[in-house]
């Protein structure tokens, strides 16, 4: 008889649970959107009765969600999940791990060849960093120029101005992050090569372990003293300036729109 596979059961159940979570999430969002877009008076879109009715409509999926979550716990008790979390080291991590505190000894032509290849990889990586920096700097500078220009933020209509800002900045941010993601992918490709050459050098016994360089604690100590002094001075100046009263008054009299009630 085939042995019962509890991991497969967990897998199927967790996918089922995920689908329910997604569906309930979508249901909540669509419900809020439908209240907003079909709401009555502009100032009373979210009438308490309307919200209550919508919540009542969502009781069944909510109960289903709760029971599914409880079910997953019961399932774990009855059929423990022995599956261990998998995490594969990326080539970048692997290379870092391998090359930690090491030195290459060039002894013959073969080691020289791999050493050169490793150096080439390093050079390509440096170039890649340079290109990525420029690629990310351009949208960064454009975005900063836009954001730091007060003319783009008329005082009378901040919400509209900020929506406009989001529309301008989002493509720039997406572009910058796409560049960074491409960089990380290419870095991984280069690291794969580096691991390959490093392993060759390891096989050739051309890698020597070096002494660990202890970081000077003095730098950290100085930083701590400086930051501590600055923070104490700032707090003292702030207290003398009357910042405490400001903080208190703004914390007890809430601007409703500032917390998203608007």
């Amino acid at each position: 008889m085939k042995k019962f596979n509890s991991n497969r059961l967990h897998q199927i159940y967790s996918i089922f649970l995920s689908i329910i979570i997604f569906l309930v999430g979508i249901l909540f969002i669509t419900s809020a959107l439908s209240i907003y877009f079909t709401g009555g008076l502009r100032e009373q879109i979210y009438d308490v009765n309307v919200v209550k009715n919508r919540l009542l409509l969502m009781i069944f999926p909510m109960i289903l969600l709760i029971f599914t979550i409880i079910g997953s716990s019961i399932l774990t008790i009855i059929f423990p999940n022995y599956k261990k979390e998998k995490y594969k080291f990326s080539n970048y991590e692997l290379y870092k791990k391998l090359s930690y505190n090491t030195k290459i000894n060039v002894t013959n032509d073969e080691t020289n060849l791999y050493n050169k290849k490793l150096k080439l990889c390093k050079l390509i990586k440096s170039l890649l960093i340079f290109v990525t920096t420029i690629d990310c700097s351009i949208p960064g500078i454009i975005g900063l120029l836009y954001v730091c220009n007060p003319l783009h933020f008329p005082s009378a209509t901040p919400n509209i101005a900020i929506i406009r800002m989001a529309l301008v900045l989002t493509p720039l941010v997406i572009y910058a992050f796409i560049c960074l993601i491409i960089y990380s992918i290419l870095e991984e490709v280069i690291a794969k090569k580096q691991v390959k050459y490093f392993k060759k050098l390891l096989a050739l016994k051309a890698i020597q372990k070096t002494e660990t360089k202890n970081k000077k604690q003095i730098g950290i100590l100085v930083t701590r003293i400086v930051v501590l002094s600055i923070s104490i001075i700032f707090i003292t100046v702030g207290v003398i300036n009357g910042d405490l009263v400001d903080v208190l008054k703004k914390a007890i009299n809430i601007c409703s729109e500032c917390i998203g009630l608007g």
């Binding site: 967790s14 649970l17 995920s18 999430g25 909540f28 969002i29 907003y36 502009r42 100032e43 009373q44 308490v48 979550i69 008790i77 009855i78 423990p80 970048y92 991590e93 930690y100 505190n101 954001v147 007060p150 933020f153 005082s155 901040p158 919400n159 900020i162 800002m165 992050f177 960089y183 990380s184 372990k209 202890n214 970081k215 950290i220 701590r224 930051v227 600055i230 923070s231 104490i232 707090i235 100046v237 702030g238 910042d243 400001d246 903080v247 208190l248 008054k249 703004k250 914390a251 007890i252 009299n253 809430i254 601007c255 409703s256 729109e257 500032c258 917390i259 998203g260 009630l261 608007g262």
Partner: protein
């Protein structure tokens, strides 16, 4: 060997010390339990202090100010006064605790970790998530610094992050207030902004189920700020480079996007400490609160060459297996207590592995309960038997105990996993810290719930349909006083505003437009809230509102007209009083020109 699944599961879900501290911190941040019942925001003096974690100060339970909200509010008035206090306190928190705050003290972190416990397929960290983790710095720069500062120059307070992104404002503030039946009026505030933030909240909550601390990793600017201090903070975790073999197990075990232990992404949760085979990872300042041997354990693998990485694992695994041998004293206590507590119900053996005897006993117990009172007698006898049995186990010597456990065949012997690598705290430190923490919590709970009395709101003259409560407030730039009774025959629009409330400042021109349009039928007064943070008259003159035809009055501590008219701690608020002095409408949020016009037109019909 029979291993009981239920006990294993119970042990698996047993809250760790970190979870207990997180729960404690969440309670300490929100100690005003009374606020959840009354639905009112806490107004005690403790709100001068910024709490370390992300906890919205609009939450009815919050007893401290949110550091991020305070920072944005202070930056909004940076053109008048630099926010030294907030900068100072953030630096101090960062220096002392670093991102330990995220790992141990932040209530939002706790919520995310609880949601992540739902058993679904998880999205692991990768190079892409590492890249995306820098997005929070974009939010920090744009929404926390640039937007508030720019609008600060226009004297309009826009806390960009709180207003457009922060889920804490919705979870704690909005839901905390809206879920209370006393705050039904608050529903009229909700509109497009709430819809957007609700959408964002649901999206973040769903993502938190699949990704560990989704909000912390990609969106939280407070974590980004504390991250700057993480490397040199007093508390946190550190790596001893002499012992580190760079095996990468710590990075593998960590769910955050760290590149190395203790970097700006590390929340100092300490989970990597127990993973490290060479004890290279320790708590900072461990000499103070850990046993000496836990701070400086001699390294066992320093002589192993880097080429033999697999061998390192083998050697360490063997060492660990040897260390897994459980301490007999602990096992004895576990078996003894299990017997005392569970023997009466017949589940002790079942839970300890012997299913046969256990099932039989459960059956007997159920039958006895059904046929009470025989069941009660049965349970009493078994309870006494259980106590005797438990005490017997506890006083057994080691050899007798070994024989006993072999007979019972309990997993408590074989499956006892010793928490070998977890650092042991010094006893005196443990006692002192627990005493201080408990005293602090009790003190804050007493202060927030008993010593901070709410003002007694007036219950008449502030509801729609009631005659509006009168007052006598001085008007800026005039020697007159504002009273409702002196304007009977006109529609009186009373608006409550404050210089530090962005939407309040933005809506004032609408009132002026209405006043101009209906100058014979309408009287508008904009009353500044009793709490002022700057010279209001100077602000009015700066904005050229002194040329407006509407009057600006000042609320007073003694009168507290805002609360008398039903204000619940949120601004702006507008009350419309008809020609006979009866309240016809009340707005607890911003108001548009069109709405005002509709109200006035309806009253004039």
């Amino acid at each position: 060997m029979k291993v009981n699944k239920f006990i294993l599961w119970l042990r698996k879900i047993k809250p760790s010390k970190r979870k207990i501290i997180q729960l404690y911190a969440a309670l300490l941040h929100n100690a005003n339990l009374k606020g959840f019942i009354s639905g009112k925001i806490f107004k005690g003096d403790s709100k001068v202090l910024c709490a370390p974690g992300l906890n919205c100060y609009s939450c009815p339970g919050a007893v401290g100010a949110c550091p991020l909200g305070t920072l944005q509010n202070s930056l909004s008035s940076a053109n008048k006064r630099l926010p030294f206090y907030v900068f100072g306190i953030l630096m101090l928190y960062g220096l002392i605790l670093g991102r330990t705050i995220c790992g141990f003290l932040c209530p939002m972190g706790l919520l995310q970790e609880l949601v992540y416990k739902i058993k679904t397929p998880k999205i692991n960290k990768s190079n892409i998530t590492r890249t995306l983790s820098y997005f929070k710095y974009v939010l920090l720069a744009v929404l926390v610094f640039i937007i508030p500062v720019i609008y600060g120059f226009y004297d309009v307070v826009i806390p960009g992050f709180c207003k457009y992104v922060c889920p804490a404002g919705i979870v704690e503030g909005a839901f905390g207030l809206l879920s209370n039946p006393n705050n039904v009026d608050f529903f009229q505030m909700l509109g497009g902004l709430f819809t957007w933030k609700f959408f964002l909240l649901i999206a973040i909550a769903v993502m938190c189920v699949f990704m560990y601390r989704f909000f912390c990793r990609f969106l939280c600017p407070l974590g980004a700020i504390y991250g700057f201090f993480n490397k040199f903070s007093f508390l946190g975790i550190k790596v001893n480079n002499d012992k580190c073999t760079n095996c990468g197990l710590c990075i593998k075990a960590c769910k955050m996007d760290v590149k190395k232990v203790g970097d700006h992404e590390c929340i100092n949760c300490g989970e990597c400490i127990s993973v490290c085979h060479t004890n290279a990872i320790t708590w900072k300042g461990g000499k103070l609160f850990l046993h000496e041997n836990q701070v400086d354990v001699p390294c066992k693998t320093t002589n192993i060459n880097i080429q033999n990485n697999n061998k390192v694992k083998e050697v360490l695994t063997n060492e660990l297996d040897e260390e897994k041998i459980p301490e007999i004293k602990k096992r004895k206590t576990a078996v003894g207590i299990t017997s005392i507590l569970l023997y009466p119900f017949g589940v002790d053996k079942f839970l300890m592995g012997s299913k046969k005897g256990g099932k039989k006993a459960i059956l007997w117990t159920i039958l006895s309960i059904i046929f009470s009172p025989i069941g009660c007698v049965f349970l009493t006898i078994r309870s006494i038997k259980g106590i005797i049995k438990g005490i017997k186990v506890l006083i057994m010597n080691d050899n007798e105990f070994e024989d006993y456990v072999k007979k019972v065949n309990t997993f408590l012997v074989y499956e006892y996993i010793k928490e070998d690598n977890k650092p042991k705290t010094k006893k005196w430190f443990k006692i002192t810290s627990i005493s201080v923490a408990s005293s602090l919590l009790v003190g804050v709970l007493i202060y927030a719930n008993f010593f901070n009395k709410d003002s007694n709101p007036i219950t008449t003259g502030n509801e729609i349909g009631e005659k509006c409560l009168d007052t006598n407030l001085s008007i800026y730039g005039k020697d007159e006083k504002f009273t409702v009774s002196s304007h009977v025959g006109k529609i009186v629009i009373i608006n409550f505003w404050a210089t530090y409330c962005g939407p309040c400042v933005l809506e004032i021109p609408h009132f002026e437009d209405i006043q101009k349009e209906y100058q014979d039928d309408v009287y508008v007064v904009a009353i500044h809230h009793k709490d002022t943070t700057e010279d209001v008259e100077k602000f009015i003159n700066k904005k050229a509102w002194n040329e407006y035809s509407i009057d600006f009055a000042q609320d007073e501590e003694s009168t507290n007209y805002y609360e008398a008219l039903g204000g619940k701690g949120t601004l702006p608020m507008t009350v419309i009083v008809d020609q006979e002095g009866i309240i016809s409408n009340k707005y607890l949020s911003s108001i548009t020109y069109e709405s005002l016009k509709t109200d006035v037109d309806n009253l004039l019909k």
